[in-house]
Symmetry: C2
Subunit: 686 residues, 2 copies
C-alpha cells in the first residue's frame, strides 16, 4: 500500500500507471485539427528522442537552473511552452469556468500547518524511501524494487535466448539509475514470483517492501550496497511563516483546501444556493523523492481544480441531458480487478444508468473533461477514463475516475475526477468550530413529536446539591424509549436512577416529562464535492507527443500539429525578404490580424521561405502567409496550411477573412480551399 494513493487519490497525486502493458507506440494515419485534412503521419514511427530534442532546442521547456547544474523535477517554460500553456489554460477557463458560471478563486500557496494537519496531509501525504546503508543515497522504495526485479527478469530472458523486448532497450536509454541487466537465468518459479510482485507493487506497504528487499537481496544498483528499512517521507515542502520560527507552514500540494476554507464566502456569493462550483488555476508543490520523468513527475506544477458543491441527496445535473449520448472509453474497476485493461465504449447515459459511473454530476464532468482534452488536440484514441479500484480510492470517496492519456511511458493520469463526499468540509468544520453547511428552506416543514424532560431546577438543587448536574446530564442523554419508560414510572409516583455509583429518587415535583411538537423548516447539510483536478504540465507534454510527427520526405523536419486554439502563434507572416518594399504590407497584415484578435509573428530572417516555414512547423504554427512581389503589385497573398503544406492564394483582405475563420474554428481547411483558389507555385516556396 502506498499511502499517497489511499488517502489522496482524488487529485493528481496517484502516480501514472506503470508501463506494464506498454508497447512502443507506432503512429498510424491520424487526423489533423480538421477531420478532413488527412495527412500521412505513419511513415516515421514516433521517436521520443527527436521530440525531446526539438522541445529543448526550441525552448518549449528546459531544466530550471540549468547553468547551476539543474534540479531534478523543476522545469522552466520558454516562450513557446509558456504560450502553449497559457492558451491551454485560457481554453480551460472558457470551457469550464465561463461555460458553467463557476466562481473563480485565487488562494495562497503558503499554508499554515494546522490546515494540513486537519486535512490529513501532514500525517499521510508521504512516499516510502530507503537509504543506501553506506552512502546515504535516498531511493524511492517501490521504484527500487521495480527496477531491480525488472532487470533480473530481463537478464533471465537474455539468458534464455529470448529477444529483449523493445521496452527494455527504450528504458535503459532513458533511466540513468536503472539496475544493470545481467544475463542470469532464474528458476521458473522465481520468474513467476517476480512477475506477480511487479503486477501488484502498488499494494505493498513500506514494511512489506522492506521485507521484499531482504528476501530477494535487493540493493542499490549504483553501489551494490544494502538498503535500510523503508521510511516515510512527507512530500510537502515545509517552511516557517514570520520571524519567530513558531508558525510552521507548508507549500500546498493541491489547491483544493483553498476552496474548502472559503466555502462559506462562496456559498454566500452564490446567494446561499447549491449546486455551484468554484475553480482555480494555481501552482502546487510536491517534494518528490527522485523525480525522473520530465514534465510527467515534477516538484512544482500548475494545476486547475474545480470543486463542485452538491446536495448529497441529489447529485443529478441539470445539463446532463445535453451530454448523455457522448461515448467515452471507460475502464471500470470490475474489469481491472479481473486482470484486464480492456476499455468499453459506452455513452455516459448508459454508464450512469447502469451504475458504472456513480452519478450524473460525475458523469457530466467526465464528458466535459473528454471534450476539453479533444478540443485542445489530445488524440481521442489514446484517452481513457480509468476508475479507481476499491483499495486505491480514498476512504471517503464515493467514486473516482482518472482521465489517462497514453504516451511513450505508458498511460498517465492527467486529470482526476472524484466524488470527495463531505470529507473536507466536515473535518475543517470539526477542527475550527465553524459551520460549513448549506441551510435550505424546506418547502414543507418536517413536524416531529418527542418526549422532553424538564427539571424544576430549584427543587433538584435543594435535593441533590452538587450531584444535581450529574442527574440532569444522565436524564438529558436518555433516548426516546428510556424517557417513555421513566415517564411511566413518574406517573406511578416515583422512579429511581443510578449513575456513577449514586442513586437518585425522583418524583413528579422534581421532573416533568412532556410530549412536545417540533417543526423543522430549515434543512441543514454538508454538501458533497465533485472534484475534477487537472495537471497542466502532464496535459501539455502528452499533447506535444500526440502532435509530433516528421515529414515523409525528411525525418529531420519535425512538425507539431497543434490545433489553432492552443498553438503559440496562429499565423506566421513571411515577407520574401526584410527589404523595405515589403514592410508597409507586413505592417498592414499584422495590424489587421491583431484587430481580428489573432496572434501573429513576422519572420523576415535571411533564409528561404521554405526553411522559415519548416522552422515554424516545429513551433506548431498552423498557418503562414507570404508577401512577395506579387503582393506588392496585386495585393494578393498566399496562405499555407502546416499539416498538408497546401497553399491557397487570394486578395489580402480575403485571405485575412479566411484565416480568421480558420483560427476561430468556424471553418476547416477543406472549407477554406473552397473559398480561395489553390496556389500552384508551391515548389517556389516550400
Amino acid at each position: 500500500m502506498r499511502v499517497r494513493s489511499i488517502g489522496f487519490s482524488t487529485t493528481i497525486c496517484t502516480y501514472p500507471r506503470t508501463p506494464r502493458n506498454f508497447h512502443l507506440f507506432v503512429s498510424t494515419r491520424r487526423y489533423s485539427h480538421s477531420d478532413m485534412s488527412v495527412v500521412n503521419r505513419s511513415v516515421h514511427p514516433f521517436d521520443k528522442s527527436r521530440l525531446d530534442a526539438l522541445l529543448n532546442r526550441r525552448f518549449f521547456y528546459a531544466p530550471a537552473f540549468e547553468i547551476y547544474g539543474g534540479v531534478a523535477g523543476l522545469y522552466d517554460y520558454g516562450p513557446p511552452g509558456s504560450s502553449l500553456q497559457a492558451n491551454i489554460m485560457a481554453e480551460w477557463r472558457k470551457h469550464f469556468i465561463i461555460e458553467d458560471h463557476m466562481l473563480e478563486l485565487d488562494t495562497t500557496i503558503m499554508t499554515p500547518a494546522p490546515v494540513f494537519e486537519t486535512s490529513g496531509h501532514v500525517a499521510r501525504f508521504a512516499d516510502w524511501m530507503v537509504k543506501d546503508t553506506k552512502t546515504g543515497d535516498v531511493l524511492r522504495a517501490d521504484h527500487l524494487v521495480k527496477s531491480v526485479l525488472e532487470a533480473r527478469l530481463a537478464g533471465d530472458r537474455e539468458a534464455r535466448g529470448l529477444a529483449a523486448q523493445p521496452k527494455d532497450d527504450e528504458k535503459d536509454k532513458k533511466r540513468k539509475k536503472k539496475a544493470k541487466t545481467v544475463a542470469v537465468q532464474l528458476a521458473d518459479e522465481l520468474v513467476k514470483e517476480f512477475e506477480s510482485i511487479l503486477a501488484q507493487l502498488d499494494n505493498y506497504s513500506g514494511p512489506e517492501i522492506g521485507e521484499l528487499c531482504r528476501r530477494y537481496d535487493i540493493r542499490n544498483p549504483d553501489t551494490d550496497n544494502e538498503v535500510g528499512e523503508p521510511q516515510q517521507f512527507n512530500l510537502m515542502f515545509a517552511s516557517s511563516i514570520g520571524p519567530t520560527g513558531q508558525h510552521p507552514g507548508y507549500l500546498r500540494p493541491e489547491t483544493a483546501q483553498g476552496h474548502f476554507l472559503n466555502f462559506s464566502r462562496l456559498l454566500e456569493f452564490n446567494n446561499g444556493r447549491v449546486p455551484f462550483a468554484s475553480a482555480q488555476i494555481g501552482r502546487s508543490f510536491r517534494n518528490e523523492i527522485s523525480p525522473r520523468a520530465g514534465l510527467l513527475r515534477v516538484r512544482e506544477f500548475t494545476m486547475g481544480e474545480i470543486e463542485h458543491f452538491v446536495d448529497p441527496e441529489d447529485k443529478s445535473h441539470e445539463k446532463f441531458r445535453e451530454v448523455r449520448d457522448t461515448v467515452l472509453s471507460l475502464l471500470d474497476r470490475h474489469v481491472q480487478v479481473s486482470g484486464s485493461t480492456q476499455v468499453t465504449q459506452m455513452t455516459i447515459g448508459e454508464a450512469v444508468d447502469k451504475g458504472i459511473v456513480a452519478n450524473e454530476t460525475l458523469g457530466y464532468f467526465l464528458v466535459r473533461i473528454h471534450l476539453f482534452l479533444i478540443k485542445i488536440g489530445i488524440n481521442p484514441k489514446r484517452l481513457r477514463f480509468r476508475q479507481h479500484m476499491a483499495n486505491e480510492m480514498a476512504h471517503y470517496a464515493a467514486d473516482c475516475w482518472d482521465a489517462e492519456i497514453e504516451n511513450a511511458t505508458g498511460w498517465t493520469e492527467c486529470v482526476g475526477c472524484a466524488d470527495r463526499a463531505a470529507y473536507d468540509l466536515s473535518v475543517h468544520s470539526a477542527r475550527t468550530g465553524q459551520p460549513l453547511v448549506v441551510r435550505q428552506a424546506l418547502k414543507e416543514p418536517i413536524v416531529t413529536e418527542r418526549e422532553v424532560p424538564e427539571f424544576n431546577k430549584k427543587v433538584v438543587g435543594k435535593t441533590y446539591g452538587r450531584d444535581a448536574g450529574l442527574l440532569q446530564k444522565v436524564v438529558g442523554e436518555m433516548d426516546e424509549s428510556q424517557l417513555t419508560k421513566l415517564k411511566g414510572q413518574l406517573a406511578q409516583g416515583q422512579a429511581t436512577i443510578s449513575a456513577e455509583g449514586k442513586e437518585f429518587t425522583i418524583t413528579p415535583d422534581l421532573l416533568a416529562i412532556e410530549r412536545k411538537t417540533f417543526k423543522q423548516s430549515i434543512r441543514e447539510f454538508t454538501p458533497n464535492v465533485i472534484e475534477p483536478s487537472f495537471g497542466f504540465g502532464r496535459i501539455l507534454y502528452t499533447l506535444l507527443e500526440h502532435s509530433f510527427w516528421c515529414r515523409e520526405q525528411d525525418i529531420e523536419r519535425g512538425v507539431l500539429s497543434l490545433p489553432p486554439v492552443v498553438a503559440p502563434t496562429k499565423v506566421l507572416i513571411v515577407p520574401l525578404s526584410a527589404k523595405e518594399e515589403f514592410s508597409p504590407l507586413v505592417q498592414e497584415v499584422s495590424t489587421k490580424l491583431r484587430k481580428a484578435g489573432i496572434f501573429s509573428r513576422v519572420d523576415d530572417s535571411n533564409t528561404s521561405i521554405g526553411k522559415r516555414y519548416a522552422r515554424n512547423d516545429e513551433l506548431g504554427t498552423p498557418f503562414g502567409v507570404t508577401l512577395d512581389f506579387a503582393s506588392v503589385q496585386n495585393r494578393t497573398m498566399t496562405l499555407r496550411e502546416r499539416d498538408t503544406t497546401d497553399q491557397l492564394i487570394g486578395p489580402i483582405d480575403n485571405v485575412i477573412a479566411v484565416v480568421t475563420d480558420l483560427v476561430q474554428g468556424t471553418i476547416d481547411w477543406p472549407a477554406a480551399c473552397k473559398r480561395l483558389p489553390a496556389y500552384d507555385g508551391v515548389q517556389a516556396v516550400d
Copy 2:
C-alpha cells in the same frame, strides 16, 4: 540604512513611501472611463472603511485561512477579485508582451540556495527586527521607532493644546499596535530631534536604530518592556529540496532571476540579437516581519516582470519617437534631496534630453507603464514617477524610477523601473563559469598588432627540465613593453630571467618573439538590463480606491467605476423576473454577447431591478441590459450605464452592437447616446 532598499531597490521591494505628507484625500470631480461622461463624485469624501467593508462583503478578497484565524499578509481573492486580477494581467500581456513582441517565460518559484547566494539575496535581502526582552515578541525596528516617536510628538501637540492632526486619528484607528498617545509636552529641542529622525529614518542602519532605542528609551508599546539589539531577518522563505535535507532552497522573492538564468536560451531564441525583452507573470514570496497594510504589504504576491536586455553602449529605443511627447509627472532625485516633493510635468523627450531620465529605453518604459496604468483606470492625477535618490539606489544601478500611486495610506510604489546594468548576468556568469554574453559580428573588424613569444618546447624541456613550465609561465605573463625589451636582448644574443629564486638564461634557439597581426571580427559584451517590475496586488488595491465612490443620494450605495477592460463582468443581463417567458430572450442575449467575446452574467434573483443594478454597481459592472414585457413583445431592450445611470433603448441586436463597441472601447457613452434613443422610464427601474 535599511539593507533591502540598497541592494534590491530595483524590484517591488522598497517599502511604500511613508505617509509623512499624507493628508486625507477628499475626492473631487472625477471622470469616468469616458472623458465625456462626467459624474459628480465629490459629494461624499472617500471613506476607506466603507470600501473595505464592500470588498470584504462582496469577496473581492479576504484574509486567507480566515476560519483558522487567518495569517497576517496572506490573502485569498474571491470571484470578483480573481476576475479583476485576471483582466489586469490579460491587459498587461497585451499591452507589454504582445505589443512589443516580448518572450514570455514561466519559471519555477522554488529555487536552490546557490542562485540567491550569487544574487546577493541570502546575505542582504533582510529587514532589522527587535525582540521584546521579556515576551520575545518580534517588532520591525524602524516601525517601532516611527510609531513611538510619532506618538510622543502627538502627545506633545496635545499637551501644547494644538489640535490633533486628522492623520493621527486616522492612523490610531487602523494600527492596533500603535504606541499610545499620552499628553506630555517635550522640550522644543527634542521635538526637533524627533522630527529630524523621522524624516530620515530610511537612512539609519540596524545598530543606529538600536542606539536610538537606548538614547530615547524606546520600548515595546504593548508591554512597556525594553527591546534587544536589532537583528537582521532574511525575508526569503526557506525550505529544503528533496529527501536528504542537504539541498536548501528558497521561494523566490522576485521572478527576475528566472529570466537571467535562461538568458542564453532566450538570446538563442531571438537569433542571437539584442535588444529583446523577456516577460513573466508569477507568484513571489517575502516573509515580512509583521505585515499590516492589507494588499499593500503581503507575504505572497503575483508580480509581472520584464527584463529588457540591451547593448550597454546603445540604450536608444526604436519606438522612443512614438512616445517622446507624452507628458509624465516626474519627481526627480534633485528635487527630493532639496527637501521638496513637488512633481514636474514634462514630456519624456525633454526628460531624456536633459538627462533627468538616464536613457531612451528607460524613458520608453516609463511611458508604457504610465499608459498601462491609465488604461486600466488609475487616476493620472494620483500617479507620479519618483526617482530613487543616490543613497537609496542599488549600487549597480544607473537609474531607477518608481511609479507611485496615491491612496489612503500615502504614495505607494506599485511599479519599479530600473536600469540594473550588467550586475545579475555578470555575477551568475562568474559563479557558474557559463558565458552570459552577446557575440556580435563587427561591421569592420578591429585590427591590432602585438609581440608573441614562441618557445621551442623540445629545447626548453631539455635545458630546464621540471622548471620549463615556470619559465614559460613567466614569459607568458609579460606585457608588451617587457616582451619588446626581451626581444631586444635576444637580438643581442641572450637574456636572463629570474623567477622564484631561479635564474634562466635564454637564447634565440629557445625562444622567438615575433610581432603578429590580430583581427577581431566579433564583439562580445554582457548586456545591460532595464527592468519594469509590477506588483499586481498593489495596483489592484489602488485601482479599487480610485474607482470607489458613493451615489449622491445615498451613501450606502457604493459604486466601483472600473473601466470595462478590467471590470469582472462587462454586462449584467436583468430579466424582469425569473419567469419562463423571459428565458428564451435571456438565452439569446447571453449567447450573442458570448459570441461577441463579451463576458456577461444573468441576475434573475427575486428583487427589484434597481436593487440588482445597485448590487452590480458594487461589483463594478459597467453596463446592464433589461428584458421586460416590452422586450418579449417588441424585441427591444434597455441599456444602462453604471456611472451616470443613464438608460437607452433600442432593438435587441442594435443594443448588443452598441454595448459590444462600448466594451471594446471603440466608442464612449456619449457616442452610444447618439446611436440609441434615451429611455424615459428611468424611475421605473432605477
